[in-house]
């Protein structure tokens, strides 16, 4: 993301209410995470300390400091989903993708994704789609009434191949 685009995002917030979080959310959406150099730029531009932005980035679950894979698989961990079997979905996904939820590589640089950076696995508090529990989301698409056996077909829509991605 270049400086011009960043300035454009900043200027979209003339009012102070919700400004800083709004800007960070837009960066997270467009870049997929909050890179250090962008946070440094924003700290100067918004006249706040870098440590303040770091504390926001780590306090709120919407932000990640490490890049995500091309497709992000998110399992809803809300109450209805829990009661209707979300833990089994997580176990199945870990096995199919060979990754852990929210795990970061040893150097802290990447959220652990499949080796080809094609998928990341993460979880969310609640999508608010409780009637269709259990629910999972791939990128921005929500899938409801999920059973473990339906997962491979869903992943295949996003380029999952058993031979390539399945964990041991």
């Amino acid at each position: 993301m270049d400086t011009a685009r960043l300035n454009e995002i900043v200027e979209r917030y003339p009012a102070p209410a919700g400004k800083i979080l709004g800007i960070l959310e837009q960066v997270q959406r467009e870049v997929g995470y909050l890179p250090k150099d962008i946070l440094q730029f924003l700290a100067k531009r918004l006249e706040v300390s870098l440590s303040e932005l770091y504390s926001l980035a780590t306090f709120y679950s919407f932000f990640t400091l490490a890049p995500l894979g091309e497709h992000v698989v998110t399992v809803c961990m809300g109450t209805a989903c829990h009661v209707k079997g979300a833990p089994e979905l997580v176990a199945t996904l870990k096995r199919l993708l060979g990754v852990e939820v929210d795990e970061v590589t040893r150097d802290g640089k990447f959220l652990l994704t499949t080796e080809d950076n094609h998928f990341s696995l993460t979880s969310a508090r609640c999508f608010g789609a409780c009637s269709m529990a259990p629910v999972l989301r791939v990128d921005n698409k929500i899938f409801g009434y999920i059973t473990p056996d339906r997962i491979p077909a869903i992943l295949e829509q996003f380029g999952w191949k058993e031979s390539q991605h399945r964990g041991s």
């Binding site: 709004g22 679950s61 919407f62 109450t79 209805a80 609640c126 929500i142």
Partner: protein
Amino acid sequence: MDLDALKAARQKGLQKLLPDRPRVAVGLATCGIAAGGDRVYAALEAAIRDRGLDMELAKVGCIGYCREEPLVNIQIPGKPCVILHRVTEADAEEIVRAVAAGDVPRRLALCRVETWDPLVGEKLDFGTGFDDIPAYADIPYFAPQRKIVLRDAGFINPEDIDEYFAVGGYRALYKALTEMTPEAVIDEVIASGLRGRGGAGFPTGTKWNFTKVEKSLRKYIICNADEGDPGAYMNRNEMESDPHMILEGMLIGAYAIGAREGIIYVRAEYPLAIARLTRAMEEARAHGLLGKNIFGTDFSFELTLAEGAGAFVCGEETALIASIEGKTGRPRPRPPFPAQKGLWGMPTNINNVETWTNIPVIISRGGDWFAGIGAEKNTGTKVYSLVGEVQRVGLVEVPLGTPIRTLVYDVGNGGIDGRDIKAVQTGGPSGGCIPASLFDTPMDYEHLTAVGSIMGSGGVVVMDETTSMVDTARFFIGFTHEESCGKCAPCREGLKHMLMILDKILSGKATRENLDLLEELSGTIKKTSLCGLGQTAPNPVLTTLKYFRNEYDATLKGAK
């Protein structure tokens, strides 16, 4: 905009809502879309275009019967509005063919609606006929319901202000601004008995007065749309299905309180709600309903949308304010209360989405009318999200004081595959588990508290014989532990230790002393935590210990 313009806008809206040709409308809230509603919409669009048919295709919000989605409304002039259910794209051809012939496919029909009362405007008369299709009021899922909050949901297009005008939208605001003093508005809200729908149940009119009496050049009102309770999604539907009712409620509140600026704080996880609110604000601004001198009066009001970034604790008022100010959402001790020192240090009034949605109805129909619905000191309705191990899931709006049994068995039709229902969990992570033996408990603020749970935001998660209550308690403590902001020790450290004890219990290594410690620790955290998160976090453990002690005992070392 003036009264004549408002009346003209209503007529224009009615032509869209009740056109003189057939109208086919697809329920497109988040859950409708996920259930395939967008594909149904596309298929209907193609079918209408290919045949060159003379009919309207519209988007509407969600009527709340989530289990039956995707839902499609068919309106043929002079005939009742027929709601079709479980529609797929394969049904599109059959639907448009029938509608073109003045009919509806019977096999897809759920019910018919002859008239609908949007409460703040004249009734919508759809028509009569199709007597072989069940009436709306005879559908068990709908029969016990009373729609005040969801008065337009599933009937109007949430992306078109004209359709909101059609159901009497912004008439209550006009009435408040031109016929009532701010004091009279507050008196009406006090008379209605409306209590905060975010969970605590504090009387709304009284709360408004706290901010009103403060002497300050700047005051703020905030709509808390950071719906954080897992298992609750009524606010999402209220925003997605009828965003203007929230704007109108806030405008009336701002006038009464004397605020010129407002903020809607909505969680970033709700992209469609954000998009529809943003559009609603643009439309309102274009009609002069936001900005300077609204309806030609000296009342001016500006509204901003701020996105939350995923922190459960931001439901707490002082944390929410910190978050809007661009800080980490950590609560601070009260007093001073937000009414004295809130956003940017100014007097601030915060209400939940659903609280705001009731305001236009109260102003339009009167506080006494509203007070006649519900139970003693618990007036009006509440929208519940009935989910979990129950047959008919969805959003259910019933008068306060309705017994749990009505919700679970009459509306929800009981357990899945004949399984016995064991408990309901209400109030999210701050609530508790209520056993089936107490299902005659009326759902109101006091009775739910008396059995150890809370109303909260209205999540009702049904649990059956397959659900482990110890695991459920662990789930909630895991959640609150994760979401604790870490500021005060009882919550930060106490919940961590509760979690460790629960893990020990679940692994079968715990002793009776561990259970005693768990109970004692719960009491300490409740008494000593800084904010509502910690003060209520032990509730799921305390209620399961109280009502399902046998399940804990069965895991103890040597129990088997």
